[in-house]
């Protein structure tokens, strides 16, 4: 059995450069309904998604930010993750945060976080 070791990421059609860590989470609000007759049932809401990309900072420019800006300008920001042979695309992505950090010991990170209303399987 082989397991996936990396998750390639694309912004729009372009490979997201310098991404070191990717994460997306699906969140669904669920609720247990407990009835007075002793029975119980469950319900679930519509899922929503959040994501984050942690990138190594290039010396000259952060190309991934340009990609995101271009995608927004041309209509829609999509982020595609390849997990094994399948690909999943977060559509209508919104960027909710952008942060830089450095430990001054050889690592400088750019972390971009956001949310998305939907995830579709594209492959």
């Amino acid at each position: 059995m082989n397991y996936a070791g990396i998750i390639p990421v694309r912004i729009g059609a372009s490979t997201a450069p310098s991404v070191r860590q990717v994460q997306y989470n699906k969140k669904v609000t669920t609720k247990i309904h407990k009835f007075s007759d002793g029975t119980a049932g469950g319900s679930e809401g519509r899922p929503e998604y959040d994501w984050s990309l942690t990138c190594s900072c290039d010396r000259d420019k952060q190309a991934i930010l340009d990609l995101i800006e271009d995608a927004k300008a041309t209509g829609e920001l999509t982020i595609t993750f390849d997990i094994g042979s399948r690909s999943h695309m977060l559509v209508g992505c919104l960027v909710s945060g952008e942060s830089y950090s450095s430990d001054n010991d050889g690592t400088a990170d750019l972390t971009i976080t956001g949310v998305a209303p939907d995830l579709i399987r594209v492959r």
């Binding site: 694309r10 190309a63 829609e76 695309m89 559509v91």
Partner: protein, 598 residues
Amino acid sequence: MAEPFSIASIPSGVHEPGVYITLRTDGDPGLSAPNNRCLILGYLASGGTATADQPIRVLSQDQADVEFRSYSMLAHAYAAAKRQVPVGCEIWCVPLQEPSSGTAQVVNVEIVGEPSAGVVSAATTAAAADTMRIKYRGRGIAVSFKAGDAFTDIALAAKTAWDQFDNMPAVCGRSGAALTFTARHKGAFDDGAVEVSFDSKGASGVAAKLGTITFSGTAGTTGSATLMMNAKSAQITITSGDAETVSSTGLVNKLLTGSYPVRAAQPGTPTGVVTLYYANGRPVRPLGVSIALTSVTVQTATASVGTAGAGVPTLTAALTALGSSDDAYKAWSLFYTSTSELSATATHIETESGVAEGMKGQHAIFCLTNSAAAMATANIPTATTPRLDSSRRYPILWAMSAANAGWELAARYAAEIAAENYVARNFNGMQFIGDDSAPVVPIHPLDRPTRGERNDAIGLRHSPVSVDSSGNMAVIWAGTSYKPKGFKDAKLVKLSASLTLDYYNYDLNNTLDVQFRGKKLKANSPARTANSVTTRSLEEAVYRWARRLDDADLFDGAEAKRDAIKAAIVVSPTRVDVTAIFAPLADLDIIAVSAILE
């Protein structure tokens, strides 16, 4: 390759970078392009400032009146389009010169006495006060007169009233009590119907003469005479040995027995000449009145109902001008219905729909107003070269006996299509809108196509136009001239499917162009930077595009077609071929309920 793969058919010699989409009806894909422009072709009148054969965007009626003249075909077509869609589409016009050697149509309206029981009147003055209304394509005048007014004075008053308006659709002439209405342009084109009505419905002793039918000679054999009145007809039997007076009497008596688009009378002592009159409140095309004898020898019958227009437009320069531009027009409105001119237009549009031309995505609309029999006989979708039934780009309206000219309705339809935001709209039931300055005249109840005739028209790939349940002129079935090869491409008989495919082409082109323009292509290893892409990202982009359209109800079943989207480098290192599914929604035309009685 594991899966079947379609290679897009791009003509040789295409080197310019871009997205080229080919629609195939034999297996899956197709092509198109949308915008909100309509293009109206028509004649301009002498004195108009527009340059002939060059498309021009028209922004106001005032501009149209100056460019083409207020009474021209184009100015009236523009008015019709603007009444249909005041805001929402760009209206472009192509002014054409009328055929210099052609003939302008002339129809007659002579003020005469009201006939009585099939006998003409010798009166020359009105017996009572009344108001006469003359409408030409629904535009017209009303003149009142009093008892004792001479018919010549009534005609003079009518001409005076007519001449007060600069934009009347015909030139009014007068000789005594006889008025003539000459079309504003030379040429054989439908110029609508004429209606002459009297408020008293004949009680004032005044009527309007349309023309005559003259029988001559004695019939040598038995046969029949058929008077055609546009969509209606009346037939009489002529027996061998019948004199012309017998035939004329038979025709007059026949028309007295029913409600026909024209009335008839003859002198108390028949002469073989039948006078035809306008019927109150019933628009008629005088030149659509004709008579034919069948199996009758010796005796002849001749109709005198005016002068038919003759001549066709020269399209070469206009089509060349349109072809030299990258601009596309979503819907064209044509005024001509002649086979050779339709063939030239179809040739142009099909060429412009080709891959190398960027697939302009244009539809050409024209409207017939002839009878069901004439429409079936002409069968225009099969008569042209290329045949219109081989393409989905020709919605043919059929508005039998409409008082409006066909090109007025075509202009409205083109404007509506161009302005429509929901590109997949089912145009079934689309109403034609008019007002006093650009009227839409409902077809007279006795002249409307029957359900059977409408069904026949649809079967012949015409879109019937009639009056809907609310009393408005409407498109009954919004189709195209396309003859499908099978179930798979049967959607293309509907205009909406064709427009949707054009939108696919336009939108997919834009979508892919934005994402992939200027990229490098990596074929043998993963893309590492934003500078390059792989075929996989192209497949994803196409699927995302389909999903987005699916969410807007413009695509049917994107998810199920995901795995059919394939991209590969097979033709050249700089070209990626993509197979994709184009799945427009079908129109809901028929709901068939099988009810069980209990």
